[in-house]
């Protein structure tokens, strides 16, 4: 029996279908998306590594698949990709932790 689930790897290849009900918006998005990842002040390889890290931060399985392959194609190796994921993880961890200051402010404000 086919069991539908929320994430299907084949759906990545169907990304373009999101444009079916908003072709103009999707055209703008994909053009902009392509331009973002072109060689510029940052190389295409560096941009791909950033994308890989962000994919982990937003925990998007499609992006993780796509940018694991893209990072290799763009010339990164597994050492560089692993460090990029650690950067994402460090920012995520740090972002939680730094809110501890807010917690302390609040707690101190209402405590005797």
């Amino acid at each position: 029996m086919h069991r539908p689930h929320y994430y299907d790897e084949h759906d990545l290849g169907r990304f373009g279908e999101v444009g079916e009900n908003a072709p103009e918006l999707s055209k703008k998005f994909f053009e902009w998306y392509g331009a973002v990842f072109a060689d510029g002040a940052l190389s295409a390889r560096e941009k791909s590594l950033i994308a890989l890290a962000v994919a982990h931060a937003v925990q998007c399985p499609y992006c993780i698949d796509a940018y694991s392959k893209d990072a290799l194609e763009k010339g990164s190796d597994l050492d560089q990709m692993t460090e990029a994921v650690h950067v994402a993880a460090a920012i995520r961890g740090g972002a939680s932790l730094v809110h501890g200051v807010q917690m302390r402010n609040k707690a101190n404000g209402i405590s005797m």
């Binding site: 060689d39 190389s43 295409a44 390889r45 392959k69 290799l72 194609e73 763009k74 010339g75 190796d77 597994l78 050492d79 560089q80």
Partner: protein, 346 residues
């Protein structure tokens, strides 16, 4: 993480894919969106011969996991001096400007240096396809000087500027030895941009994916090779892995074969198709047989029967008018930016 161990050659293991027929049959057994000739829109014809590529043999000091030659230390097929002389005779009858010597590790073939000197004596440009580690073996340590004296263009394989990927594809310790060899090539003047001693690096993907954009990678590689290793070079070529021989075996055993072939077919680029290297190259095997390219050579698909099939019968006119022999592996030359022995073709 240590690198996966290199396996012996397909031949030494008695692997079914040691047979070129088995390789082609495996590729042909897969469902595919369209055949290569349909993608091209008809047959492919040669245009001219700018490069005589001589594969002097399958003997190699390495056993890289992706090798399309199934080369290795156990292989005994090497070109005799007599066959080299036939290549030289054919060359002397033409003005083909470039001789591209490949293998295996071509430098291990007994009469390699003699061949280089004879080609130079005919006033032609020589390219040596070098695996770098051969320069670190006791019997070949003087090759940088030999190359420089003969103004040989050295085209070297290095999958990545960092150790990990190089060693995974080519074996533990290969990266370090390759860097040492590159430094010695730099020391005799290679890659300085002034001496005219041209040093090219070749990278091909360590896995089932296509290479990145050549120009973008070259900029980054030049910076990284200089900063990390103090090495300079002139150009970087990106080459797509062909689904044949040991790479084909790896694709199949790792479950990547169908997806990789689909990716090559989907990335078919008509501009790359116009620039495929077989149109301007003739490839000669260790026994003197003529092929359209080194890949067809490994698949034992000689040139079309309307052209001479052995170097002793070399006829430039007939060869330049030949129809190229094609099969599904050809999608490797036309994917994305295209791929050839000179890197991307678009």
């Amino acid at each position: 993480m240590s690198s996966p161990k290199s396996l012996p050659t397909l031949r030494a293991r008695g692997a079914p894919l040691a047979s070129p027929d088995a390789q082609r049959a495996l590729l042909r057994s897969l469902p595919i969106a369209r055949e290569f000739e349909d993608a091209l829109g008809g047959p492919l014809r040669a245009t001219r011969i700018d490069v005589m590529q001589i594969n002097v043999g399958k003997l190699c000091n390495q056993t890289c996991r992706h090798c399309h030659v199934d080369a290795g230390p156990d292989r005994r097929e090497v070109m005799s001096r007599e066959t080299m002389q036939l290549c030289l005779d054919a060359l002397a009858r033409t003005d083909i400007p470039t001789v591209d010597i490949t293998g295996g590790a071509p430098e291990l073939t007994p009469h390699f240096r003699w061949l280089v000197e004879q080609v130079r004596a005919l006033g032609r440009h020589v390219i040596d396809r070098c695996n770098l580690t051969i320069l670190e073996t006791p019997t070949h340590r003087d090759l940088p000087e030999f190359f420089a004296e003969n103004r040989v263009e050295v085209v070297c394989s290095l999958p990545h500027y960092a150790r990990l990927s190089t060693d995974r594809q080519r074996g533990d310790g290969v990266h370090e030895r390759s860097i040492r060899a590159l430094r010695r090539l730099n020391e005799v003047g290679y890659g300085d941009g002034r001496s005219g001693l041209r040093l090219v690096l070749v990278t091909n993907p360590v896995g089932a994916f296509l290479p990145g954009a050549q120009a973008s990678l070259e900029t980054e590689w030049k910076r990284e090779m200089k900063q990390r290793h103090g090495v300079s070079f002139d150009a970087l070529y990106t080459i797509t892995n062909m689904p044949i021989s040991r790479y084909l075996e790896w694709l199949e055993s790792s479950g990547n074969l169908q997806r990789y072939l689909d990716a090559l077919v989907a990335a078919f680029n008509p501009a790359a198709a116009r620039g495929v290297m077989c149109r301007s190259t003739i490839s000669i095997g260790w026994d003197g047989t003529l092929y359209d390219c080194d890949f067809n050579q490994m698949l034992e698909m000689p040139v079309h029967a309307s052209a001479p099939r052995h170097v002793r019968d070399f006829d430039r006119g007939l060869l330049e008018a030949r129809t190229i022999e094609l099969d599904r592996h050809c999608f490797g030359c036309t994917a994305g930016a295209g791929s050839s022995c000179g890197g991307a073709t678009t």
